[in-house]
C-alpha cells in the first residue's frame, strides 16, 4: 500500500476504541456462549448481539446468564443490576464461574493491561510484584476465564502493553509456549485471538507465539511490529479487515452514548 492510500484510509470517522469494539464484536458468532469482562468486551459482545448474533448468550461473573444490556445503561462493572437486563437466569458468582470449569462456555472475552508473546496477561503488578511501582486491581474472574476456556483478548495496541515478558502472570495464556500450559495443569482452553486497534492476531500451533493474521485498513505490518515489544510472527497470507460500517458505528454509539467505555 502506498503512503497516499494509507493516509487516505487513516482519515477515518471513528476512534481507535470504536474500531477495537467493532473488530472485537465481529469475532463472536451467533449461538456461542461468551463469558465477557467489563469495558470493550461487554460492549463488543452486546454489539454482536444487536448486529449478527441475536442468539449470542452473554455470561457475567456477577452471576448472569444471557443478558441483553440496555443501550445507554452500561454497567460500571459486571456485578450491577444493569448486567441482569433481560437475562434468562441469575445465579451465584461462584456457580457462574463453575460453568467455565464444567465446559459450558465457548469463548472468554477480556481486556488486558499487559500481554506477552504467549498471551499471558498481567492485571496485578507493574514492576516487581514484591515492590511494585503500580498495584493494579488484580484478576477478578480473569484468571478463571483464561484458565478454563478459549480466549479472545481485546486491547489497545501499545508497545508498553505488548511486552516480551509480563511482570506477573495474572491470567495464563500459553505460559512459556509449547506444551507448558497443558503441563502446568491447564489441559483445556487457551488463547484464540488477540484483537487490537491495529490488527487481529492468533497463535502459532507449535510454538504458541503470537502471530498476525489480519491488519485493519491502512495499517502496515511494520506499524504493528513497531508498536509491539517482542518479535511477532506473521501468517503467510495476511488478510485486511473491512472498515467499520456505518451501521456498526451507529449501533455502537447508540449503546454507549456517554462514551463510558469508548473514549
Amino acid at each position: 500500500m502506498t503512503t497516499e492510500t494509507m493516509t487516505r484510509a487513516r482519515q477515518r470517522d471513528y476512534t481507535a476504541s470504536e474500531l477495537l469494539a467493532v473488530m472485537a464484536g465481529r469475532l463472536l458468532e451467533d449461538g456461542q456462549v461468551v463469558f465477557a469482562g467489563v469495558g470493550i468486551p461487554l460492549l463488543a459482545a452486546t454489539l454482536a448481539q444487536r448486529l449478527h448474533g441475536p442468539g449470542l448468550t452473554i455470561l457475567f461473573e456477577g452471576g448472569t446468564i444471557g443478558a441483553f444490556v440496555e443501550p445507554g445503561q452500561l454497567p460500571p462493572s459486571t456485578n450491577e443490576q444493569r448486567c441482569t437486563r433481560r437475562a434468562n437466569m441469575v445465579l451465584s458468582s461462584t456457580d457462574v464461574l463453575l460453568l467455565l470449569q464444567r465446559g459450558y462456555v465457548d469463548i472468554g472475552f477480556m481486556g488486558g493491561a499487559q500481554i506477552d508473546q504467549y498471551g499471558n496477561l498481567n492485571s496485578s503488578f507493574i514492576g516487581d510484584p514484591e515492590n511494585p511501582t503500580t498495584r493494579l486491581p488484580g484478576t477478578g474472574g480473569g484468571n478463571d476465564i483464561s484458565s478454563l476456556t478459549q480466549m479472545i483478548v481485546a486491547m489497545k495496541h501499545e508497545k508498553r502493553r505488548f511486552v516480551e515478558k509480563v511482570d506477573f502472570i495474572t491470567s495464563p495464556g500459553f505460559i512459556r509456549g509449547g506444551t507448558s500450559r497443558r503441563d502446568a495443569g491447564l489441559p483445556a482452553g487457551g488463547m484464540y485471538r488477540v484483537v487490537t486497534d491495529l490488527t487481529v492476531m492468533g497463535f502459532d500451533e507449535q510454538t504458541k507465539r503470537m502471530k498476525v493474521l489480519a491488519l485493519h485498513p491502512g495499517v502496515s505490518l511494520e506499524e504493528v511490529r513497531d508498536n509491539t515489544g517482542f518479535p511477532l510472527l506473521a501468517a503467510d497470507r495476511i488478510e485486511t479487515t473491512e472498515p467499520p460500517s456505518e451501521r456498526e458505528l451507529q449501533v455502537l454509539r447508540h449503546l454507549d452514548p456517554d462514551k463510558l467505555y469508548i473514549a
Binding site: V38, G39, E61, G62, G63, T64, P76, S77, N79, E80, Q81, R82, C83, T84, R85, R86, V90, L91, S92, S93, T94, L97, L98, L100, Q101, S124, P129, P132, T133, T134, R135, L136, P137, G138, T139, G140, G141, G142, N143, D144, S147, L148, F168, I169, T170, S171, P172, I175, S180, R181, A184, G185, L186, P187, L260
Partner: protein
C-alpha cells in the same frame, strides 16, 4: 486431628439458633464484632455492599479486621483509610473501571501499610463454599501456572488421587462474622434477596456469626407465604438491623442504583491527594454525621431519589 472442625461445630452449637427476634441498632450490632476478627463482606463491587454496617464498624473504632469479599470497591478503601483493616482478601480491588485504578488502594498496598491478598474470583467463592460445607478444602482447576497461585502459601497443588491430574486445593474460609445486606428479612433473620446473590449464601453459612442489614423488616407471615424466596435461614443469623438505603452510595438491586455523582465526587477527592482525600471523606461522611439518616442527608435527597428512580427501572419491562 479434627480440632479445627470440632471447634467450628462448637462455635455453631454455642449460638442461640432458636426462632427468636434479634432486631437491634447498628451500634449494638457493631459490638458483636471484635478487633482482629475475620470479616466476610457480602455483595460484590458496587452491589449490595453492607455499607451502613461497615460505616458503623469504622465509627466504633474497630482495628485489624481481616476482610474478605468477592470483589472490593470503595468500602475497602474506607476500611484501609480509617485503620479498621490492614488486610483484605479479594479477587479485584478498585473503585470500578470507569474511575481508573483507585489511589487509596495503591497508596496503602504499595507502601505496605496494608495487604491486598489476591485470589481468583472462583477461588474466593470455593473457599466460602468449602466453609459452608464444613469441609477443609475444595479442589479446582484454575490458577495453575499463574503468578497468583505462586503467591498463595495457603493453596496447594496436588495430583488427583483418582485421575492423576493436577488440581488446586483451596482451604475453607470461615469468617468470624459475615456482614450481608438484603432487600428484606423478618425479625428472626429469614432473609430474601432479589437479583444477584454473589457469594452471600455460602458466606452466610460459612461464617460463625451473621449480621444482616436490611432495607426493610417484613412479617414472618410474609416470609412463610413464599419460603422458596428465603435465601438465608434465621438460624444462621445473629443480628437484624433495618437500614433503608443501607448500601449507599452503592446499589441495592431493584431498590436503588449506585449514587454516581457521589462516587464521582469521591473519586475526584482521592485522585488529587489520596491520603488527605480519604481523611477528608471519612471526617465528613463517616465520623461527622450523628446517624445513618444524617449521613444520607449529607449525600442529599436529590441523589437518593435519582438512584432510587434508576434502581426501580429494573422492574419496568
Amino acid at each position: 486431628m479434627s480440632e479445627a472442625y470440632l471447634e467450628l461445630r462448637r462455635r455453631t452449637a454455642e449460638r442461640d439458633r432458636s426462632l427468636r427476634e434479634k432486631v437491634m441498632s447498628l451500634e449494638e450490632a457493631a459490638a458483636l464484632v471484635k478487633d482482629g476478627d475475620k470479616v466476610g463482606i457480602g455483595g460484590s463491587t458496587l452491589s449490595r455492599t453492607p455499607m451502613a454496617m461497615i460505616w458503623a464498624l469504622i465509627r466504633a473504632g474497630k482495628k485489624r479486621l481481616s476482610c474478605s469479599r468477592s470483589i472490593m470497591s470503595s468500602e475497602g478503601e474506607l476500611l484501609f483509610g480509617s485503620g479498621a483493616s490492614e488486610h483484605v482478601l479479594t479477587s479485584w480491588f478498585s473503585q470500578g473501571i470507569v474511575w481508573g485504578v483507585s489511589k487509596v488502594m495503591r497508596l496503602y498496598t504499595e507502601s505496605k501499610r496494608a495487604r491486598f491478598e489476591e485470589w481468583s474470583h472462583m477461588a474466593v467463592g470455593m473457599r466460602f463454599k468449602a466453609g459452608a460445607m464444613g469441609v477443609p478444602f475444595l479442589p479446582m482447576r484454575s490458577m495453575m501456572g499463574s503468578g497468583v497461585l505462586a503467591r498463595l502459601p495457603d493453596a496447594r497443588q496436588i495430583d488427583c488421587p483418582f485421575t492423576g491430574e493436577k488440581l488446586v486445593l483451596v482451604p475453607a474460609l470461615n469468617p468470624d462474622v459475615a456482614l450481608i445486606h438484603v432487600q428484606r428479612c423478618d425479625a428472626f433473620g429469614n432473609a430474601q434477596m432479589d437479583g444477584l446473590q454473589f457469594m452471600d449464601i455460602d458466606l452466610a453459612m460459612a461464617a460463625n456469626r451473621v449480621i444482616l442489614t436490611t432495607e426493610r423488616i417484613v412479617s414472618n407471615d410474609q416470609i412463610r407465604r413464599a419460603p422458596d424466596q428465603t435465601k438465608i435461614p434465621f438460624m444462621a443469623v445473629d443480628a437484624v438491623v433495618e437500614v433503608p438505603f443501607g448500601c449507599a452510595p452503592h446499589e441495592c438491586y431493584g431498590v436503588y442504583e449506585p449514587f454516581f455523582k457521589h462516587l464521582d465526587m469521591y473519586a475526584e477527592l482521592i485522585r488529587k491527594d489520596p491520603a488527605k482525600g480519604i481523611a477528608h471523606y471519612l471526617d465528613r461522611y463517616v465520623y461527622g454525621p450523628k446517624s445513618w439518616t444524617e449521613y444520607l442527608s449529607l449525600i442529599g435527597v436529590e441523589e437518593m431519589l435519582d438512584a432510587a428512580r434508576r434502581g426501580r427501572r429494573i422492574h419496568d419491562d
